[in-house]
Amino acid sequence: MAMTGPRPILSFMQKHPRWSQLLTLGLFFLAWEIAARFFVDKMFLSPPSRVYGEIGRVFGTKGVPDALWLTLFELSIAFAISVVIGLVIGLSVGLGTFARRSFMPIILLLYGIPQITILPLFILYFGIGAPSKIAFGVTHGMFPIILTIVAGVQNLKPVLMTSARSMGASRWHILRYVIFPHMIPSFFAGLRLGMTGVLLGVLLAELYVSTAGIGHFTSMFTQSFDPTRLLGLISVLAVMAIALNEMVRRAETHFSRWKS
């Protein structure tokens, strides 16, 4: 019958989303492989099989392992600072009506500025070394964290505060047992967005000015028309980003058990 066409495959994929994810990914790599082998200039694109096969060459490049460590170091510092600043500002702005009314518009305004335009200022203030990259990462990472925390604190049901107060909860009790657990889900959402922001900020700064770090090597590989190593380096970076993201997501699921 005509019914035995693509129908069974479709229903199989609907039942097993994992498989359709893998299939999509497989098709993507296949298209890339074909395009790189037969249609695109070798100077601009390498097939994934070659990128994967020669990944060792990336690590073998002088300076790349150091660059990876340096970038990872800058990322961690920038992320840690973003989280602390995001928490402090997010909580104080989110919890106080006065603070929210005074500072929220300013925060939104600052967040709206395309920060790449003031990157030269960062270099002027912090030099061309790690500090300017960390600072640029922080300004990209802290805003999403601030905003999600403010939003998370806001939608707390007032009756929960009232009931805690009626049972004699101190300010610390309310912060520790009511506000913190309430904002955990949005806090983690903020962490993930903040992580993406920090990654963007640090790499942008590296691309522009630095003489070290992953950003430096991506621009070097591009300029020397070496897409194999460039894509290899980007893959390493992608794996790093996915691993970090996954760590935060695991923690998030663990702390949001009550929501299921």
Partner: protein, 277 residues
Amino acid sequence: MSMQNQTVDQVAVSIHGVAHHFGESGDAKHVKALQETTMDIYRGELLALIGPSGCGKSTLLNVIGGLLNPAQGHVDVCGKRVDGPMPHEIAYVFQENALFPWNTIIENIRLGMLFQGVAKSEHEDRAQQSLKAVGLMEFANHYPGQLSGGMRQRAALARALSLDTPVLLMDEPFGALDEQTRMVLGEDLSVLLSRTRKTIIFVTHSLGEAVFLADRVAVFSARPGRIKQVINVDEAHPRKPSFMTAEKFTRLRNELYDLLHDEIRKTVDLGSRGGGF
């Protein structure tokens, strides 16, 4: 000892000329919520506050509980002037689900005791006892989101009971539940409360609930509210379901209905800016 003194000893909650309004007078948003109210509530008594919506019964409850400072007058609870929450004297059960959704039922109960300052060594015993009292022992480790509305209110009641306060305030505790569930919870509450001998003040919209549970029912007039009349129910606790079909129950319920009807009509007509038909 004179009779007078003995009566004073028996008073658990004393309301002295309490009046309240929201917003400044002259302001467009100014609302006179509660007219001067004076009343004594006796130890072990169950008082129901009933009236049209917006009549200030919840306002009065929040003033008694120290969650709201009245514009005028004051309240004494167990001989102490109310000036903010009194966790050792007063426990609350709110209309909305006020359990912390991120804590299990037993964690919620322990947290209440932690806030109130109960010694850690007593937490487990008291939590188990209060869970047993409301029949939720098997659900100790469930999250509130996994329970039905009726069970959540039982859990909230267990948390309030574990605080072991002489006074319990309930703001439409069964307001969000369906008729059948409220009936069963009402029966359970009557049994439970006759054992604990707490002083209880609860706000309700349900005439039947007021008559079934309360020793006295305070009927409020429409906004700005004041206590229009107090009705004695005079029936021993625990009350059996058969009380609900007794002639006395119907008579009292009708009496309440007559008292309330005009007030509710006033509120509704005011709301629609018209007058009857």
